[in-house]
C-alpha cells in the first residue's frame, strides 16, 4: 500500500530524517510513534503529497505521491492534525459537498456516527467542540470508504471518551473492511489498543518497525542495584538511567542474555529484575526521557 524508500528531508539546515525506508502492507493498522520533532507530521505530509522530500521516494498504491492521478485520491482518507474541516459549513452542507466527489460515498455511515453527538444537521462546525469536530471528520472518512486512511494525530485535543469512541469506530471499520491505516498520535495507550504494527522514530532514523505484540513480547525494562556509578554502555541497552543506586534501562535481550552481558563486562549488580511493559513505557525506554 505504502512504500517509502530512502527518504531524506531537511528544514533549512536541520536534518529531520535520513534514508528512511518503510512499507505498510495492505490490511494493517500501522502507528508512527516518535517524540516531538522526529518527523512524524513531515512523513504524513510527504505521504499526502504536501511536501516534496529532499531526496527519496514515496509510493502509495504503486504511484509516486507527487504525481498521483487525481482520481486515485478517492481511495485515500485523510485526517489533518486537529480534525480540521471547513468550519463555515454545517453538518449537512459538508456532507453534501464531499459526497459529490466520491462515487462510493455512504451517507448512512456519516449520519449514523453523528447521531451519537446529538447535534442538529444545521449546526455549524465552528460551533462544535473539539470532540464533536473529530466525529464529523471521522464520519466523513467512514462515508468516503477509502482503502487507505492517513491520520495525523487523530487524538489531539480529545477527552478520553471521544478518543475511545474514535479508536473503537476506526478499528472496527478497518478490520471489518480490510482497510489499511497509517496514523500518528501522542497518546500511546490509544495506539496500543488500535494498531497492529508500529514504527518508532528517533531523531533522524527509525528505531524499530515491528508488530506491537512482537515488540511488547520482546522488550523488557531491566532494573538492578549498583554500588557505584553505572558507566557501561552497549548498543543492546537503551537509555540506561541511574537514580541513586538503582539503574533502569530497556533492552530486547532476554533475562539470561542480559545477565551474561553484564557479567562478561564486569558490572557488579544486585537484584536484577526484568519486566514486560506497556507500549508507552517501551516507547519511553527506547527513545529516552527528555
Amino acid at each position: 500500500m505504502i512504500e517509502c524508500s530512502n527518504l531524506t528531508h531537511y528544514y533549512g539546515k536541520r536534518l529531520i530524517f535520513e534514508n528512511l525506508s518503510f512499507e505498510v502492507p495492505k490490511g494493517r493498522i500501522l502507528g508512527l510513534l516518535g517524540k516531538n520533532g522526529t518527523g512524524k507530521t513531515t512523513t504524513i505530509n510527504i505521504l499526502n503529497g504536501f511536501l516534496k522530500p529532499h531526496s527519496g521516494e514515496c509510493r502509495v498504491f504503486g504511484e509516486k505521491v507527487q504525481q498521483m492521478p487525481a482520481y486515485m485520491r478517492q481511495n485515500i482518507g485523510m485526517l489533518i492534525e486537529g480534525h480540521i474541516q471547513y468550519a463555515f459549513m454545517t453538518i449537512e452542507q459538508i456532507e453534501k459537498f464531499y459526497a459529490s466527489f466520491y462515487p462510493r460515498w455512504k451517507k448512512e455511515a456519516y449520519y449514523e456516527l453523528l447521531k451519537k453527538l446529538q447535534v442538529a444537521p444545521q449546526q455549524r462546525i465552528s460551533h462544535m467542540s473539539c470532540g464533536q469536530r473529530s466525529q464529523v471528520a471521522l464520519g466523513l472518512i467512514l462515508a468516503q470508504n477509502p482503502e487507505l486512511l492517513i491520520l495525523d494525530d487523530f487524538s489531539l485535543g480529545l477527552d478520553p471518551g471521544y478518543r475511545r469512541l474514535f479508536s473503537d469506530y476506526l478499528r472496527d471499520f478497518a478490520k471489518s473492511e480490510q482497510k489499511t491505516v497509517f496514523l500518528t498520535s501522542h497518546i500511546i495507550q490509544d495506539m496500543e489498543r488500535l494498531v497492529d504494527d508500529c514504527i518508532i522514530m528517533d531523531y533522524g532514523k527509525i528505531l524499530t518497525q515491528q508488530p506491537v505484540k512482537k515488540l511488547l513480547n520482546a522488550y523488557r525494562t531491566y532494573k538492578f542495584n549498583v554500588s557505584s556509578d553505572f558507566e557501561f554502555n552497549s548498543p543492546e541497552l537503551y537509555h540506561p538511567t541511574q537514580i541513586r543506586d538503582e539503574v533502569e534501562m530497556g533492552s530486547f535481550l532476554v533475562f539470561d542474555e542480559m545477565r551474561q552481558l553484564l557479567d562478561s563486562n564486569g558490572v557488579f549488580y544486585q537484584n536484577l529484575t526484568a519486566q514486560q511493559v506497556s507500549l508507552e513505557d517501551a516507547f519511553i525506554g527506547l527513545t529516552g526521557k527528555y
Binding site: Q66, A70, M78, A87
Partner: protein
C-alpha cells in the same frame, strides 16, 4: 465544479451580497449628485464642466472595485490558509489546478456580476442625462477602475496562497507596483490606448495563484 462553487458560495455569500449593496449604493450616491447639480444648475452646465474640466462625477467609486477585489480574495482565501485548510481541497479526487481554477473562477464570476450591475446602473441613468459620447467617456474611465478590481482580487489571492511570509511580502510589493499603474492618472480616458494590454496582463496574472499553490504543495517554508 458545482460542489466547489457550492462551498465557495456558502463561504462568501454574505460578503458578495454586501459588496453588491455597498457598490450600488455608492453608484446611486454619485448619480444623485449628478441629478442634484443638473436640477440646480441645468444639464448644459454639467456638460460644460465635464468637457472643460475633465470631470466625470463618479470619482467617489474610483477605489471601490479595487477594495472589493481585495476583500473578496481575503474572504475567500484566508479561511483556506488558516490551519492549512486548503489541504482539504487539494486532497479531493479532482485536479488540483482545476480546483484552484474553479475557486478563482467563482470569485471572478461574482465580481463580474457585481461590476456588471454597477455598470448597468450607471449606463441606464447616465444615458438619460448625457449624450452617448459623454456616457462613453465616463464608462471607459470607470472601466479601468473595475479592471483594477479583478487585478486586485487575483494579486491578493496570489499573496494569500503563498505559504511563506517572506515571499508574501515580496509578492505584496510586486502587487502594489502592478496595481499602481491603474491609478497613475485621473484624466478621463487616458488609458484608452493601453486598455487591451491591461486586460491582457490581468489575464496573465491569473496564473500566479497556481504558482503559490504549487509552492504550498512542495512544502516551501520560510
Amino acid at each position: 465544479m458545482k460542489a466547489l462553487f457550492y462551498k465557495e458560495w456558502i463561504k462568501t455569500r454574505w460578503f458578495f451580497l454586501a459588496a453588491a449593496l455597498v457598490s450600488l449604493t455608492l453608484c446611486e450616491y454619485c448619480l444623485l449628485n449628478i441629478s442634484r447639480i443638473t436640477e440646480l444648475k441645468g444639464a448644459v452646465h454639467v456638460w460644460e464642466v465635464m468637457l472643460t474640466r475633465d470631470a466625470i462625477f463618479i470619482q467617489l467609486i474610483r477605489f471601490v472595485p479595487f477594495l472589493i477585489g481585495i476583500l473578496a480574495s481575503l474572504v475567500q482565501f484566508v479561511p483556506e490558509m488558516q490551519q492549512k485548510r486548503i489541504k482539504l481541497t487539494l486532497h479531493l479526487p479532482y485536479s488540483q489546478n482545476k480546483s484552484i481554477g474553479t475557486m478563482l473562477l467563482f470569485g471572478i464570476l461574482l465580481l463580474t456580476i457585481i461590476f456588471f450591475l454597477n455598470f448597468l446602473f450607471l449606463i441606464v441613468y447616465l444615458n438619460q442625462v448625457f449624450a452617448l459620447e459623454l456616457v462613453s467617456r465616463i464608462i471607459l474611465t470607470a472601466f479601468v477602475w473595475y479592471l483594477a478590481g479583478f487585478l486586485s482580487y487575483l494579486l491578493t489571492t496570489w499573496i494569500c496562497l503563498e505559504p511563506t511570509w517572506k515571499r508574501r511580502m515580496i509578492n505584496l510589493l510586486i502587487a502594489v507596483a502592478l496595481l499602481r499603474v491603474f491609478f497613475l492618472s485621473e484624466t478621463p480616458e487616458v488609458y484608452n490606448t493601453f486598455l487591451p494590454f491591461m486586460v491582457l496582463y490581468t489575464v496573465i496574472v491569473s496564473i500566479l495563484p497556481l504558482w503559490s499553490v504549487q509552492r504550498f504543495k512542495d512544502g516551501t517554508q520560510d
